[in-house]
């Protein structure tokens, strides 16, 4: 049941970031010490996660039996501390609703703890299985790279936003606290512990979103807090329900008990997951979180926070499988995917496009996990991996581009390929990774469509329509970057070494993952699926082969750029109705002046208007959740 030695690494991964957070809070005022600590920390968590991956290859799930009264007390104390902090925040911010939610949560937890029934006992509060390892890899490697990027990014950020008070000490401390909580979340088998980690991530997201302390940031930080606490109340109710019905609070036993007994708590936890994964109607917090500095967005929306939401879905997938509740959750996810993808078409703010795309992709993951058959869960896990890497790359690259061109408007990224080739390439790779064959997301989408067919055909239909919308906005963006209309203004502001490192590694990862996903699938996803479903999806070799050919072609095609055309190629001016002037982007309009060509993208707001579609999506998802409530309570 337990091999204590291998538990050192997970424990280290949980405690080391916490320790670092403490250190940073103490000495982080000094810039040199802060950046050194943060770099050491990010490197250590990444190496730690990789080490964990190697040591657990091909191993069964391991449970860490650790039964000590003081430990339970410590967790309880921490829970109370977090609740009090949240209460304090809500009172200071004059947010009665948040205070109410915190109190409700506290009451539910108190009832579960001291409600008079037999206190549920969890023999093994921590565990490691291949899913935790995958999550840990994402948190450690992607999260680590994001922190590394932040070390170079934050001084630029403060340079650009001169009026924002420099609170980098708290910033880096919160980030490491966040990473620690995420590690705890994926290694926790005790639902109470998982809930503590859950609440800590909520708290940290509040601190990070509100970093700049502008009224907008504060408002959005409270919005995130409010919506996530609603989820937290659902989570606490699940714990209370299990305690009252005398079930086990061990995650593995909850999953093992099946949908007959565990459906209600599973539904409650998944509801909390919906809030955390920013599914409609909770999606607004993720959009609001875009006010935060780019590394925060990258952290919250690619590797951590939202991934905690879908993580519980994947964990509970065996319970949701073949149930009406699962189908309804899947529909919420699919609806979110469709509407968020459509809305992204109408957005010209790069970070908002990324935010909507995040919401959409999480919707797809939720859909797959809720259908819960082997292949769907396989697709969900691969989606989690690929999305984390590509989206982190995109957020970081957009952040760096924003500093060099002074805008996050996609229209201003025109011809970025000529102005900032490396940053532009990073964005292009990230985008390609999001929606093009043979890159990762598409591999998973391909598996998802087949898996969802086994659930209900309406799901892949919705996904198909949503996917075509993603194709529109991603290609439009790529086109903008590639479109060199004129000699663009020279960029200002350098890109720091750390930013370059992080983008380079994430770019290599995005491309590399396409080549090595079959390996990851067989070493890490397969053991998890075998343990949960007793089955695994075998892939058609021919399909993998053709994917590889496509990848090779994509890799080889840029070589054709080396061929600059022989003497036979004549470079001509673009067609401008014959009214060209000597420079290629100038023309003579009818009144005889000289004007520059201006090209703007289509946003199709008439059909894909944000307000209208958001309302439609909220109504659809609320209706689904209402039906869900009825189904669960009967």
């Amino acid at each position: 049941m337990s091999s204590q030695a291998t538990m050192h690494l997970p424990l280290f991964l949980i405690l080391f970031p916490l320790l670092l957070a403490g250190l940073l809070a103490l000495v982080g005022g000094n810039a040199t010490a802060r950046s050194a600590l943060a770099k050491v920390g990010s490197g250590t968590v990444a190496i730690g996660a990789l080490a964990l991956y190697w040591t657990t290859l091909h191993r069964e799930a391991q449970f860490f039996a650790w039964d000590a009264v003081w430990l339970d007390r410590a967790v309880l104390t921490a829970e109370i501390a977090v609740a009090l902090t949240l209460l304090l925040i809500s009172l200071r911010g004059r947010q009665p609703l948040i205070a109410l939610l915190v109190l409700a949560q506290g009451a539910l937890m108190a009832l579960a703890e001291w409600g008079g029934h037999a206190h549920p006992h969890v023999a093994a509060p921590l565990f490691v299985d291949s899913l935790s390892v995958i999550m840990a890899l994402i948190i450690g490697v992607v999260g680590g790279l994001i922190v590394w990027h932040a070390v170079g990014y934050m001084p630029h950020y403060h340079h650009h936003e001169a009026q924002t008070p420099d609170r980098q000490r708290g910033f880096f401390a919160s980030i490491f606290l966040f990473l620690g909580a995420m590690f705890a979340l994926v290694f926790a088998n005790h639902l109470g512990w998982l809930f503590l980690a859950w609440e800590v991530t909520t708290l940290c997201s509040y601190l990070l979103i509100g970093y700049s302390r502008t009224p907008e940031a504060t408002r959005n930080a409270f919005l995130a807090l409010r919506l996530n606490l609603i989820g937290g109340v659902a989570f606490a109710s699940a714990i209370l329900y299990i305690a009252r019905t005398g079930g086990s609070l061990a995650l593995n036993e909850v999953v093992a008990s099946g949908s007959a007994t565990a459906l209600i708590p599973a539904a409650l936890i998944c509801f909390a997951g919906l809030a955390k994964a920013a599914q409609m109607p909770f999606s607004s917090w993720l959009l609001g979180a875009m006010v935060a500095p780019s590394p925060v967005s990258a952290l919250l929306h690619s590797s951590t926070m939202v991934k905690a939401g879908v993580y519980v879905f994947v964990r509970l997938a065996p319970i949701l499988q073949d149930t009406l509740v699962g189908l309804l959750f899947a529909l919420v996810g699919a609806t979110t995917f469709f509407f968020a993808s459509c809305i992204a078409i109408s957005q010209n703010n790069a970070k908002r496009v990324l935010a909507y795309s995040t919401i959409a992709n999480l919707g797809l993951i939720v859909t797959c996990a809720s259908i819960g058959n082997v292949q769907a869960v396989w697709a969900a896990i691969l989606l989690i991996i690929f999305h984390a890497v590509a989206k982190a790359l995109l957020f970081l690259a957009v952040g760096s581009a924003e500093h060099s061109i002074g805008s996050r408007d996609i229209e201003d990224m025109e011809g970025l390929i000529a102005r900032r080739p490396k940053t532009a390439l990073a964005i292009l790779i990230g985008i390609a990774g999001m929606f093009l064959a043979p890159f990762g997301m598409l591999v998973s989408k391909w598996a998802a469509i087949e898996a969802l067919m086994k659930g209900h055909p309406i799901l892949p239909v919705i996904v198909a329509f949503g996917s075509s919308a993603t194709l529109f906005f991603w290609t439009k963006w790529m086109g903008k970057i590639l479109s060199t209309v004129k000699g663009a203004p020279p960029p200002h502001g350098p890109v720091s070494m750390e930013e370059k490192n992080a983008m380079f590694f994430l770019g290599v990862l995005t491309v590399g993952l396409c080549a090595i996903w079959p390996f990851i699938s067989s070493t890490s996803v397969k053991p998890f699926l075998l343990s949960q479903f007793g089955a695994f999806v075998e892939f058609n070799r021919a399909t993998i082969l053709i994917m590889s050919i496509m990848l090779a072609l994509i890799a080889a095609l840029p070589l054709s750029l080396l061929y600059k055309g022989d003497k036979g190629l004549r470079i001509a001016t673009p067609y401008l109705g014959g009214a060209n002037v000597s420079e290629r982007h100038l023309f003579t309009p009818s009144i005889g002046l000289t004007k520059p060509v201006a090209i703007r993208s289509y946003y199709l707001t008439e059909i894909f208007g944000e307000r209208r579609l958001t309302r439609a999506g909220f109504i659809a998802c609320l209706a689904l959740l209402a039906i869900l409530t009825v189904v669960v309570s009967t």
Partner: protein
């Protein structure tokens, strides 16, 4: 095989005509004349065209445009001046704004006279241009034609 004979694509530009010739050019597309029989297509894009068909005389406004369009056409290409105005300036020859016929601006290969030029003669002009296209392609193989640099606002003497 002389492919250019079989597939001449035309761009039609109206320099500054009275629209008489333009109507006759378009008449060539109608069922009565149906130039698509000869593989001729009226494309609106100089980059796709082999034959530049110009009606009307050239004036201050249209001169740079004609130059640009000519320059944007890939070789081999021929220019057909349709109507007497395009050929020599016609009745507008002495007008204050007239630069002259098309040959005041770009080299013209075929002149199609008439006011307005009849569809039959326009088609005849185009068909005569076809052989020229093939000849130019062969010429091009031996020496690349120098092309006038980008248009400027200098005023050529008519």
């Amino acid at each position: 095989m002389n492919l250019f004979r079989k597939s001449p694509w035309i761009i039609h530009y109206d320099g500054a005509s009275c629209n008489g010739c333009d109507i006759e050019v378009l008449a060539c597309l109608t069922p009565r004349y149906d130039v698509e029989r000869l593989g001729i297509i009226n494309t609106g894009n100089p980059k796709h065209a082999d034959i530049l068909l110009i009606t009307g005389y050239i004036n201050e406004q249209s001169q740079p445009v004609v130059r640009t369009i000519y320059e944007q056409m890939p070789d081999p290409k021929v220019v057909v001046a349709v109507g007497i105005c395009a050929s020599s300036g016609g009745i507008f020859r002495d007008c204050y704004n007239t630069k002259g016929g098309v040959d005041s601006t770009i080299p013209v290969d075929i002149y199609v006279p008439g006011c307005a030029a009849r569809p039959e003669s326009i088609m005849d002009g185009v068909v005569q241009a076809l052989d020229l296209l093939e000849r130019k392609r062969k010429e091009k193989k031996t020496r690349r034609r120098a092309i006038a640099p980008t248009p400027t606002s200098e005023v050529p003497t008519p």
